[in-house]
Symmetry: C2
Subunit: 287 residues, 2 copies
């Protein structure tokens, strides 16, 4: 079974609580709508790639549970971030966003439910490192440094840009990278930097895509940063400057991979992802 | 130190993550606004009372962690339930509700953060029964039977009334009662019924108070059930019928307390709470 299939199977299992039971139908349907079909599943894949790089022979039970929790937390943040009081985005992954299709109350509750399901998935699935993985996930989502704090910076009169980007985007990448190491019994100390660099790269890539691609290419509204007066790398450094910083962040990510059994293959994976991140015509445009 | 003081101390500690760190100020302030000063702290007190009844000599470390998590989950549900897309309530506990004071985005994020902090508190505080307590809390909040599902019933064209009340109100009482037993190493099998009866009692009492008390007495808007077209015990059975059912639920709760070292004192505590639940003039009105 491919890693993609394993992640999807585990996500299906996490949401199955709502089937064949007396769960309100709209909430059940909204949860599936929010999680399937997924985006690139980048965070769970990073978690599993790090686990595999740390120990290619290791049992991946805890890594799969952590990967599933990461994706549920990510999907929860997307559903809440699309709400009218946040980005007011009517599309996500080429489909109506959850609040457009199911209403605002169900969107709030689906996000809440996915946060809980993430921790429930760890409790059910993580065998050896349940407590450590719970701590990693909580740190990535709660204040002061998790995604909830990241989104909360947008409500402040003066935004701490570094804290904003670190907590809004990098937090879950750092968690993915740390969780990968922790889930196979390794220390996570050397793995924060990889998540941090990749988080920075994704934030810049997201800002570039928001500015340069069409809604059809994005599967969601374009130019949301300008519309919502959000700080963005494009606004700060221009397209060319932002692209240079994106390349710099990817190089730093590759450089940061600690010595382990799978260092080389992990570096190749990051390089391949970097190409995917930056569409051809964007590269040519800024070349 | 009284139980009240211990619960508040533990809640302070759970929220302290935002202090002396780079946490966005509004979110930090909103979290404290949502949790302090508290209401009656009924769910955490029930948890600790059950733990103490099961084993008066037991160490209460895990029970305090569970009690704290319960209150955080309860406060999260109140903050989200007050949002404009739900009850649109502008007051809670005699103060402006979180979204009125801090805005909708911060209210959504504060709720999200409190859910995560609940699970983080368990990871940090629960020593012996961390996994079991996490499962109890997740079941009480996630679909199909947790509070998120309870609120989601309100968006269905046809409401399953029993499932609605069980998941919206009873779920956290059942969790409190189960967690009390689990946190001192007892089986929770005999303790579900107590939580279920108390949850029913609280739901009916809440319906009665909503209909009969003034906003000043309630510290929040009155007659919200009628305004939001919510099913209520008063609507279904009238004031007198609802009051009879409230008494019945309390009697059933007292009856349900399993044989243990503290059976009698726990029964007395429930009786005392029942009097608090039903204000004098309400008792006279329906007598």
């Amino acid at each position: 079974m491919t890693i993609d299939a394993k992640i999807n199977q585990s996500l299906e299992r996490a949401l199955r609580v709502g089937e064949k039971t007396n769960c309100p139908a709209k909430l059940n349907s909204a949860l599936h709508h929010a999680v399937f079909p997924g985006g690139a599943r980048v965070r769970p894949k990073l978690c599993i790639a790090v686990a595999h790089a740390c120990d290619p022979e290791a049992d991946l039970t805890d890594a799969i549970a952590a990967a599933t929790a990461l994706e549920l937390l990510h999907c929860a943040s997307l559903v809440h971030d699309d709400l009218p009081c946040f980005d007011d985005a009517d599309q996500r992954r080429g489909k109506p966003s959850v609040h457009v299709k199911y209403g605002e109350t169900i969107a709030v509750l689906a996000g809440d439910a996915m946060i809980v399901l993430a921790f429930q998935t760890l409790a059910q699935g993580a065998q050896s490192y349940f407590r450590e993985l719970t701590m990693v996930m909580a740190e990535a989502t709660a204040p002061p440094n998790g995604i909830a704090a990241g989104q909360a910076w947008e409500a402040e009169p003066k935004i701490d840009l570094e804290a904003y980007h670190n907590s809004k985007t990098a937090a879950l990448f750092i968690a993915a990278s740390r969780a990968g190491a922790v889930s196979v019994g390794n220390s996570d100390a050397n793995w924060r930097e990889l998540g941090s660099c990749l988080g920075r790269a994704y934030q810049i890539a997201d800002d570039l895509r928001d500015m340069l691609l069409t809604p059809e290419e994005l599967g969601k509204p374009a130019k949301q940063d300008v519309r919502n007066c959000r700080p963005s790398a494009v606004e700060s450094y221009g397209v060319h400057g932002a692209y240079k910083r994106l390349r710099g962040a990817i190089d730093a990510a590759i450089e940061s991979v600690p010595d382990c059994d799978g260092t080389e293959s992990l570096r190749q994976l990051i390089q391949a992802q970097a190409i995917r991140l930056t569409p051809d015509h964007l590269v040519q445009e800024v070349a």
